[in-house]
């Protein structure tokens, strides 16, 4: 059984102009200990997918159909009190901005101890010992002194280490990391990604890594799901998706990334922009920007199907010879 299974997830927002569908039939699973990357441009729905899984969708957004199961147990319809027991205990979360994730009025030790004692039957002393061990493990020097410092006394990179310690405090089976390195400098990004990967592998925790950075995905993940306009348009092993993308959008996205190792005469570009949620094109949502689009793409919505070693939602995928 997969650790996490998301089936036909639909998230809608209702407003004055009526209903807007932000996630439209998302299905994927995460195996025990696996690192799944979720990539896409702004507005594709990657953060919403993470928020829906941990039950942190902001009103007026809500799950209108589909199901989410954690080890076979439905978690999308749980009352808040039960959800709170899963969040932190079985699913940890790391967000982009470490300053927003920590309470500025409490020493980081108090925040760690509170989290640990909420989920694990430990005394204050035991929880403190555990918190210090966690901070040491995340690479915070002099953890015994640092545990009594306030968040503002840490630099951005150090704060993100504290947030990782916090997310892993109750030994969750799954960690949802939403753009964990985007707010950090490049030299710090490498440290944090390395830490996240090592610490989750050691604990056999699975990770859902949400990011817009394909380089981070390439280095970290086992599989990757590419989102476009609230749908998964391609999902498969990282090496395959990056080097042999089946969906024209994935191919265009990969080609538009400037290359650090080569002098390029011109970047490939995808003209236009991601559609607004209230104006998603009919058929394949990507068809107005797609150079391979044909009549069928305008009317019929493609579903995920096997193309070589990946699965893509496209009527005319690349390297069709491999199917």
């Amino acid at each position: 059984m997969s650790l996490l299974e998301v089936k036909d997830l639909v998230v809608e927002f209702s407003g004055r102009q009526g209903q807007v569908r932000a996630l439209d039939g998302i299905s994927f699973c995460i195996e025990h200990g696996e690192i799944l990357g979720v990539v896409g441009e702004s507005g594709a729905g990657k953060s919403l997918t993470g928020a829906a899984i941990i039950g942190l969708l902001d009103a007026p957004g809500r799950i209108t159909s589909g199901e989410i199961t954690l080890e076979g147990e439905r978690i999308d319809r749980l009352p808040e009190s039960q959800l709170r027991r899963i969040r932190g205990k079985r699913i940890g979360a790391i967000f982009q901005d470490p300053i927003a994730a920590l309470d500025p009025l409490y020493r980081i030790g108090e925040q760690l101890i509170e989290t640990i004692r909420t989920h694990l039957p430990l005394s204050r002393e035991e929880a403190r010992t555990r918190a210090i061990a966690l901070l040491e493990e995340t690479g915070i020097a002099a953890a015994e002194q640092r545990i009594d410092h306030y968040p503002h006394q840490f630099s951005g990179g150090m704060r993100q280490r504290v947030v990782i310690a916090l997310a892993l405090a109750a030994e969750p089976q799954l960690v949802i990391a939403d753009e964990p390195t985007t707010a950090l400098d490049v030299s710090i990004q490498a440290q944090i990604i390395g830490l996240l990967k090592r610490i989750c592998r050691e604990r056999k925790a699975a990770v859902m890594l949400i990011t817009h950075d394909m380089g981070v995905i390439a280095e970290t993940c086992d599989r990757v799901a590419v989102l476009y306009a609230g749908r998964i348009i391609e999902i498969g092993p990282v090496g395959e998706v990056i080097h042999r993308p089946a969906h024209p959008y994935t191919a265009g996205l990969m080609a538009s990334i400037p290359d650090l190792d080569a002098d390029l005469e011109r970047l490939a570009q995808i003209d236009g922009a991601m559609p607004r949620l209230d104006a998603i094109p009919s058929g394949c949502a990507f068809h107005p920007r797609c150079s391979k689009a044909q009549e069928r793409c305008r009317h019929e919505r493609p579903t995920l199907g096997s193309v070589g070693k990946t699965r893509a939602a496209c009527w005319f995928p690349n390297n069709t010879a491999a199917t």
Binding site: E41, S42, S155, G156, G157, M158, D185, V186, S187, I188, Q189, A190, Q191, I193, G194, H212, D213, M214, G215, V216, A218, E219, T220, V238, G239, I242, G252, L253, M254, S256, I257, P258, D259, L260, D261, D263, L264, R266, L267, A268, Q269, I270, D271, A273, M274
Partner: protein, 334 residues
């Protein structure tokens, strides 16, 4: 006409962050001075792009603001076409106006840099009217339509408001506005950092086309070395307000010399070798209010020796590049 359009000599900018005089007297807290930019020199040949890279706090945005005259230097000067920019802006009315036309800036955040209550046509026309380059009415409208077409927008877009556009389109509007006065020199401060990659590619391609068509000179500020490799002719690497390496693009990416440049290049995740494990350099950028002694990079540098802790390295020529590193100077590093 000399080949050099912009020349920066010994440019420094210090910000006084001291507490007020009274609280210094009462609590005895010391004066604090932030050296945001510290004796930086470079030049940019006409029609080329110099990229400045570095992490937060390295002074790259302050340099951009100094170059366009939004800040005045604490020491050193900026020469534009041979004339001192800050002296011109201070003293001479007509040349100052001409200078403002010839130097323009593009900012990072296209959501903050456009007035939400103005139509796009008004935004683009403002510099034309302000500088007296077009008379209101048909002439200005015609110029606006040309500018919008030059950045790939439709003439009808002029009647719309900024919120009706996506981030990439807004950055096109910023570029159209910057081009309105027919400048020679554009200072671009992280112009694509707020954009998605596919949109970033559109904007970078547009900037390259405009440079070729109009012979523009760019100062391009970025933290993304892959973007820098695509846009630049030469590259300056900044660390804590100082230039630590300068080199022509091909040389910098083929043979980075300064340990900090090497570290930056190594820190970037690569698409081509999945699962690569690296040894990221330890430590973070130090507090710029209390920079380390000697070479500011020494606490993070694997090649640091006693001399690096004590003596600040000078920027020295090395095979057509310039590097400020004792290890390189002594031949300990290639």
């Amino acid at each position: 006409m000399s080949a050099e359009l912009v020349r920066v000599e010994g440019l420094s900018k210090r910000f006084d962050l001291s507490p007020s005089w009274l609280s210094r007297m009462v609590s005895g807290s010391p004066a604090q001075v932030l050296r945001a930019v510290d004796e930086v020199s470079f030049s940019i040949p006409r029609g080329t792009t110099l990229a400045l890279v570095g992490e937060s706090g390295c002074g790259k945005s302050t340099i951009a603001r100094l170059l366009v005259g939004l800040q005045t230097p604490s020491a050193g000067r900026v020469l534009f076409d041979g004339a001192d920019v800050h002296q011109t802006l201070r003293e001479r009315r007509a040349p100052a106006q001409r200078l403002r036309q010839r130097v323009q800036m593009i900012f990072q955040d296209p959501y903050a840099s456009l007035d939400p209550r103005w139509t796009v046509a008004d935004i683009v026309a403002e510099p034309l009217l302000e500088q007296g380059l077009a008379s209101p009415g048909a002439e200005a409208q015609g110029r606006v339509a040309e500018l919008l077409a030059a950045v790939g927008l439709a003439g009808a877009d002029g009647a719309r408001f900024p919120h009706q556009f996506s981030g990439g389109q807004r950055q096109r509007i910023s570029i159209a506005r910057a081009l309105a006065t027919a400048p020679d020199f554009l200072v671009c401060d992280e112009p694509t950092s707020a954009l998605d990659v596919s949109v970033q590619a559109q904007v970078l391609n547009l900037m390259r086309d405009l440079q070729r068509a109009r012979g523009l000179t760019y100062l391009f500020i970025s933290h993304n070395l892959a973007v820098v490799r695509y846009v630049s002719d030469s590259v300056g690497v900044l660390y804590l307000g100082r230039l630590v390496e300068w080199a022509p693009r091909a040389r910098l990416f083929k043979q980075p010399r300064h340990p900090y440049t090497r570290m930056l290049l190594d820190a970037i995740p690569k698409l081509n070798d999945p699962g690569r494990s690296r040894n990221p350099v330890q430590g973070e950028v130090p507090n710029p209010l209390a920079p380390p002694s000697g070479c500011a990079f020494h606490p993070r540098c694997p090649h640091a020796k006693e001399r690096c802790r004590q003596e600040r390295p000078q920027l020295l020529d090395k095979d057509g590049a310039r590097v400020a590193c004792h290890a390189v100077e002594e031949g300990r590093l290639p």
